[in-house]
Chain length 358, copies 4
């Protein structure tokens, strides 16, 4: 159960960083959707390693191969299987980490849980396995496009460099124009400089990503346990290195009064709309037709290229300095993953919403 | 699907605020557990309305009736059905809200989604339905006690009044000694004063709750989509009025470097432990044996006893001043609900962890 | 997980024969359906004990109480909770079976599985728990009626007395006119006579029930693992005492050639229809628009009012003659249960089918 | 949801007959199991086409490639992805069936359900997709071997040629010694002769398969809706061409009395055993420690190499004589598929049974 996501639209993934391939199966994908393979590959390219000076130097083609579920360019309603071969592994980089647990990494917990693990490249806990999410997300986006729903994420903070304004002030598409994926050009340059410095020190840095969903109809989200907050939250909190999420005005609302933050309804030419959107487009756990937006906290990547003390499998305290090719900051490559998870969640909820009435 | 929670330990709930009863079914509860009915009722009493000057004045006995699954004081492995009768409804209080949507409330989204809703007392979106969660949580706690796992939540912020220190500085049990459920006596008094003022104005106020799980073994949490972050996050984000969550050092880690926040391992007399716990007890999505802790943001309750502009079903703009008996601040009564959701999540994950090896 | 049925339309049940109540929750029920309470109670009355000379003498009012999910006579899309109180228990009848395992009954397997069981009246393994299925089935029928789909079951064999003809030769509604629920009046009398004889001997007898679903649209059923055969089969094989099922010409087709049993398509005034229906309305696991029909094998009820040798909990061999009020033949009261399970399955599949296209 | 099987052990499949590849993902596989790749390939070889004179002439290497979840020869608890390339397609054989619905085949129902289908080689409805089941089943068998549980199926009837005796009279392993997979040598020859005759006529023939599970502990099976009957039944009724199933003495018990068919318990040197096994090893939906056995009805394969009348997409009545390479009888190649589905079901239930007690 642990490797499937979604209820009606359902992605199941497999693969390790240094195994044969990563891949997955998308089940429950609607029939009759035009499958644009270039778009899917493009989404993968957005997360691939080695794409810029501030990401890992591992070079992978990451070419996706769709194996089923598409016929004459259209989805058939049958499951879509896909794989991406691993090719540029340097497993020997990980020899010194075979029996040693990197601080704050999944090494220890995997080993404890399963009693066995593929340590090479982080195995199943590697960010490489998010490839499958990007493919699933790209498919979801193709379906959402037909529904007029868009999903855009961007880097809103790196270290202490944070955007001053909220998403409404930016051209969200412009985030793709720089390598840190931030729609504020000046801030982007500061962020890139900071990441470069951190990288030079063998250190890593955290940050936040903001995600915005536009065009989402009212009525999505199951009201009791599977509120849209819970569904999107679960999706985001399942991304590597994520430690927090807030919707709309989020933690800020904890310090405020109802009369300050309630979103008043008005009649916007026939549509019932709200004058403010502190709710982030979700009320009572259900979308209300306004923009959905949320912010996600990423901790710094655990693997450092500098000395740290830790223990090995035998409980002996040792010094560890990682080798291998690692990102100094997860955010630039995490932006497409956030979008992918959001797109899959919304499509799944959309399909669920079709079953409410006969 | 929307009204069930958990995978192996599974709570399904039903009920509306002004219907006949609220209740639920707990399925997958382990056989052979001693069922302490007084403890269960005690947990319900912690969330019941009318318990203090800062909660709603609605008076309900909220007496739980266990209907099945217990025989001679022990769980049988069969589903545990239970109900709590509604008795102190004053449905006429809601007559003026029948066709009007309260700002930032679930009124509009429910109506849009289903085309029909029981408006009395908020119907299914009422906080009253969390009774079923408290019963499920109490059962989960009874099982966790056998495993040496404890779950404690407390109010850590109301409005701008926030605790200075983290959970390690407090006697968590002492939170029950005041009506706002805060383990810092002086801050508790400030909070109570603030809530009373807000109440007098017909307004409401937000805050945060912190939850701490001790004694949880390493190895809980499914590593890919159902990380322990995701499971706990989904549980918390499904609580009414919750708008955010952060684990361990949370959003604070977004501004930091790996070398500052990584939790270094050491050998603690044979147990592999960490010197700090910025991870909040979860690494790679799996518990690592340290305390699990997280903080949850609650927005102010939407229903105000003061004038607000809004629209009705016909899209006409109207003034609304709610009647009825409403809480000015959700936190004091939400503390047991947070604990209940956490307890159920941990028990569910514990059961899942038993299936990893033959 | 074991006590829930269905994917989108989902019934969760609880209760034991001699506990406080039996009941359940229907989740995923479409909003806006007229809820006819008399119809639901009528369906329960069809399965209640003591309804005729050939059923158990236990007398129960079996009055259903709907607790939620219905507002002003219509379903709201919220979960429908319901209970039926147990009242006419005579638990002392079961004292001699407390530590003894009835042959071919669930006594031994429950005890082995859980290490504890409520032995009174068969506890959770009692046919009494099918009450919840009847309520769920009645709700499903109300929704299917709107779709023009009918479900009818009838007793087609008791012992060696079997109907000569297939369902097309009978007025299926007429099965309700006699106490054995067989649409062939003459055969019905023979069956009743046989059951009376068997009862007089303290023995029990098996039989078959046939179920027919008319008006079901083509396209229901998930093609790979959840074929309509599998969904209906699982529903039926979960009924107490069922040991087999066959669809359409069933086991008979094992002895035949494709050229003999293939159902040839033809154009029936614009509808693609088949000239024969050996497939029983299901091809490739999906409904084809023809009548769906299948036949279910019931073994004789295990509990005999005559001596049998068996063992007790300590493994000692003992003689057992049951007391209590037991049915000599399960079929008359099983007919509404078969219909209920079929109705819930078809409604669930109908809802699933709505999600295939955007 | 439609393409996944199992709850804790979970197989998700993809692929079409003439697509790039078929494959799947096994999730929830226990960690630490020795993965014998030759055994897995051997199981695939048992179902592959072209293996004898009485199967289809399509020649495929059907070489399985395991892509993840195995490290240094052992399972890691991570999902096991696998693919088998399609190579020997002759899609042009299907040109005349592109717009025509084969009688009793899935052509019509798929087309109706999805509005689009890959007609080549039967697409997703092809028996070829059972490759993924064989791989999942082989993995399950490797785990069951550690538990001392064996699963054996064999052809027990072809047309009117049926075995006289029940499974206890045969050496079940010997079924592999002949191409029809029947443990009765003389009957096997008759069956082979019959299939050859039927094949020469361009016709097809049905039959039954019997499956026996030995060494299964008591206590498997969820007692309410997911009885072991229901779980195994659903697994079997999801196999192509299956139209019925009966457990133990099955339909035969419908004609008998309780006193004739009840299985009396006795003390078998400390183990509670039954003197007969009409129950087929399942009582109250739970395994009782005796052999589990059941019989499955297969209809004749729908595709005939002789003329049949049918309709095309436009509803026009046409004559159809299939081309392509088709099996005249599904049974010989279905034997390993039956075993695979049974093995996966039992492993899944075994894992579930570990969660009943703390």
């Amino acid at each position: 159960m642990s490797n499937s996501f979604g209820k009606l639209f359902r992605l199941t993934t497999f693969g390790e960083s240094h195994g044969e391939a990563v891949g997955g199966v998308v089940d429950g994908y609607p029939a009759g959707i035009d499958i644009d393979l270039d778009f899917i590959q493009g989404e993968l390219d957005r997360r691939k390693p080695g794409q810029s000076a501030i990401t890992t130097a591992r070079k992978e083609a990451d070419k996706v191969e769709i194996l089923s579920g598409v016929f004459e360019g259209k989805s058939t309603g049958c499951p879509i299987g896909f794989i991406v071969r691993n090719s540029n592994q340097r497993s020997s980089d990980y020899d010194n980490m075979k029996d040693v647990f990197r601080p704050s990494h999944a090494d220890f917990t995997y080993n404890y849980k399963y009693g066995i693990r593929d340590h090479r490249g982080g195995g199943r806990s590697s960010a490489r396995i998010t490839i499958s999410r990007c493919v699933g997300g790209a498919l979801a986006k193709l379906a959402l496009k037909r529904l007029g729903i868009s999903v855009n994420a961007y880097t809103s903070q790196v270290g202490t460099i944070a955007l001053d304004s909220d998403y409404r002030k930016y051209d969200l598409e412009s985030a793709e124009e720089n390598i840190v994926r931030c729609p504020d050009k000046a801030k982007a340059e500061e962020m890139i400089k900071l990441i470069s410095e951190v990288k030079a020190e063998g250190d890593t840095i955290g940050g936040t990503i903001t995600c915005v969903i536009k065009g989402c109809p009212a009525g999505l989200g199951e009201p009791e346990f599977d509120k849209l907050h819970a569904a999107l939250g679960s999706a985001m909190l399942g991304i590597n290195a994520v430690k927090g999420i807030e919707f709309g005005a989020g933690f800020g609302m904890s310090a405020r009064r109802g009369s300050e933050v309630n979103d008043l309804f008005f009649n916007d030419n026939g549509r019932i709309a709200t004058r403010t959107n502190n709710s982030g487009g979700i009320q009572g756990g259900i979308s209300n037709g306004e923009d959905i937006y949320f912010r996600i906290a990423f901790k710094p990547i655990a693997t450092l290229l500098k000395d740290q003390t830790t223990v090995n499998k035998d409980g002996e305290e040792v010094n560890l300095k990682a080798k291998g090719r690692h990102d100094p900051c997860v955010l630039p490559r995490a932006v497409p993953i956030v979008e992918a998870m959001a797109a899959m969640t919304i499509l799944d909820q959309y399909l669920l919403s079709k079953t409410i009435k006969l």
